[in-house]
C-alpha cells in the first residue's frame, strides 16, 4: 500500500546508563503497546474530511485493524481527538472544552489542510490552525486526505506513543490556558503562525 515499514516493536529499549530500572522500562513498553493499539478516537468532523474519515473507518480501510473501531462520541471516554475539517471561531470554545474534557493520556490529530492551517479559508470566520487552540500531535496534509493518508498519520502517532516514557513528566502535562485571554501560546506566536498566507494578502485590516 505504499506505507512506510511498521514501527519496530521494541522502540523502547533498556538503556543501562539511564536511571530507570529494567522493570519500569518493560512496563513502559507494555503500557505503550496497549495504548497505541487501542486508541479510541473522538471524531470531531466538521467538513468533507469527515467523509474521508468515515471511509477510513468503514470496511475497505478498516480502522478496526488499529484497535480504533470504537468511535467515542463522548470525550470522556476518548483517547484521541481527530479534528476532521475546518473550525470556525464560533466552534473554537467548543473544541477547547472537548479537549479539556478528555482524560489523560490523550492525543490529537489535525486532519486536513483546514484544521492544520485554515486551508483556503483565510477569512474572518475560520481558525487558522487548531494548534492555536489545542496541542496537536500529528498533522495530516491533504484536501481532504485520502484514507491512506489518515492511516499513515495514525501509524505515526502509534510510533510516537511507543516511544513515550512514564518517567518523562512533560508528556502528561495538562495544557493550562492563560485565564484572562484563554490562549495557551503567546499572541505574537499566533499572529506569526497565521500571517500572510493564501490569496488574500492584499486584504488589510482597518484596526490592530
Amino acid at each position: 500500500m505504499g506505507l512506510s515499514p511498521r514501527p519496530e516493536p521494541a522502540a523502547v529499549s533498556w538503556q543501562p546508563q539511564s536511571q530507570e530500572g529494567w522493570l519500569t522500562t518493560r512496563l513502559d513498553f507494555l503500557v505503550n503497546w496497549g495504548r497505541s493499539n487501542s486508541l479510541w478516537p473522538m471524531p470531531f468532523g466538521t467538513a468533507c474530511c469527515a467523509i474521508e474519515f468515515m471511509a477510513t473507518a468503514a470496511s475497505k480501510f478498516d480502522l478496526a485493524r488499529f484497535g480504533m473501531e470504537r468511535m467515542s462520541f463522548s470525550p470522556r471516554q476518548a483517547d484521541l481527538l481527530i479534528c476532521a475539517g475546518r473550525v470556525p471561531f464560533k466552534l473554537a470554545p467548543v473544541i477547547r472544552r472537548i479537549w479539556q474534557q478528555m482524560p489523560q493520556p490523550k492525543w490529537a490529530i489535525s486532519m486536513g489542510a483546514c484544521a492544520s492551517s485554515g486551508g483556503m479559508f483565510d477569512n474572518y470566520a475560520v481558525v487558522q490552525g487548531i494548534d492555536t487552540i489545542i496541542p496537536v500531535d500529528v498533522y495530516v496534509p491533504g484536501c481532504p486526505p485520502r484514507p491512506e493518508g489518515l492511516i499513515y498519520g495514525i501509524m505515526m502517532l502509534q510510533r510516537k506513543i511507543r516511544t513515550e516514557r512514564m518517567s518523562d513528566p512533560s508528556i502528561r502535562r495538562e495544557m493550562e490556558p492563560d485565564p484572562t485571554s484563554q490562549l495557551y501560546i503567546p499572541p505574537s506566536a499566533i499572529d506569526e503562525l497565521s500571517e500572510p498566507f493564501g490569496n488574500s494578502v492584499h486584504q488589510t485590516r482597518s484596526a490592530p
Partner: protein
C-alpha cells in the same frame, strides 16, 4: 441544438437532454431568454397601478421581474402581494441584500413566489449606505422571514423595523468586528488573529440564546390560563 427529435449526433439509441422520448417535442427551456427585457410579470404592472410613486421602476432580467419599491413602503407592497386574491404570493423564498462597489446603493431583496399563479417576483428596495440602513420587516406577513432577516442583519447590519427578535444568528452574540458582508469589511476581519481567537475563546458558546429564551418566568406568563392553573397545582407533566 436545433431541437429536432432524434438528432444525428450520437446515433440511434443514445438519449440526449430534452429528447428522452423519441418524437416528443423539446421541453420549454430558458435558452433564448434575453438578459434584459422581455415580458414582465403582470403583478408588477398591477402593483405600479396600485401604489403609484412607491413603485419606482420595473425591469426584466433574464426572464425574471425586478420590482423596485421605496424602502418605506416595502411592507405595504409585499403585504398587498401576499393578501390580494389576484396575486397570492404566499411563499417567501429568500430575504437577502446586495451591496454595490464604489458607493452604490445597497439593495434589500425579497424573493416572492406565487404558487397559485405560478409567478416569481423579485422585490428590491435601495438604501443609501451613508444613512442608517432601515427597512420594515415583513415578519408580520411571512413568519418565515424571522431567521432570514436575522441573517441579513448579521451580515449587512440592516435593521428590520418590526422584527420581534433582531440579533445575530451566524456570528456569535459578542462579535465586535462589524458586519462581514459589507464592502468596507476586510476579508480577514478587523482584529489580529490572536485577538479574534481570544474573543472567541472567552465567549460563552451557549450565549446565543436570548434572555427571552432563557427566562422561564416569562414563558410561564405566555402559557394558556388553564395550563397555568394545572401547573400551579403542581401537576407533573409526563412520567
Amino acid at each position: 441544438m436545433s431541437g429536432a427529435p432524434g438528432g444525428d449526433a450520437g446515433g440511434a439509441g443514445l438519449l440526449r437532454a430534452g429528447h428522452a422520448v423519441p418524437g416528443a417535442p423539446a421541453p420549454a427551456s430558458r435558452r433564448g431568454v434575453p438578459n434584459r427585457g422581455g415580458a414582465a410579470n403582470p403583478s408588477a404592472a398591477a402593483a405600479a397601478a396600485k401604489f403609484g410613486a412607491a413603485v419606482r421602476r420595473t425591469e426584466v432580467v433574464c426572464g425574471d421581474t425586478n420590482l423596485h419599491v421605496a424602502p418605506a413602503s416595502a411592507l405595504d407592497v409585499i403585504r398587498w402581494l401576499h393578501d390580494d386574491p389576484s396575486q397570492q404570493y404566499e411563499y417567501l423564498v429568500d430575504v437577502t441584500a446586495v451591496e454595490q462597489r464604489d458607493g452604490g446603493p445597497l439593495e434589500v431583496v425579497w424573493h416572492l413566489r406565487s404558487i397559485a399563479c405560478r409567478r416569481f417576483l423579485r422585490v428590491k428596495a435601495e438604501l443609501d449606505t451613508s444613512k442608517p440602513l432601515v427597512v420594515p420587516s415583513v415578519w408580520p406577513v411571512y413568519k418565515g422571514a424571522d431567521w432570514l432577516e436575522r441573517e441579513c442583519y448579521d451580515m449587512f447590519g440592516i435593521r428590520f423595523e418590526g422584527h420581534p427578535d433582531l440579533r445575530r444568528i451566524l456570528m456569535w452574540e459578542q462579535y465586535r468586528e462589524g458586519f462581514p458582508l459589507r464592502k468596507d469589511f476586510p476579508l480577514r476581519g478587523r482584529f489580529s488573529r490572536a485577538e479574534q481567537l481570544k474573543q472567541a475563546l472567552t465567549g460563552n458558546p451557549e450565549a446565543h440564546y436570548s434572555m427571552e429564551e432563557l427566562t422561564i418566568a416569562d414563558a410561564f406568563d405566555d402559557l394558556p390560563v388553564e395550563m397555568k392553573v394545572r401547573l400551579g397545582h403542581g401537576e407533573q407533566v409526563g412520567e
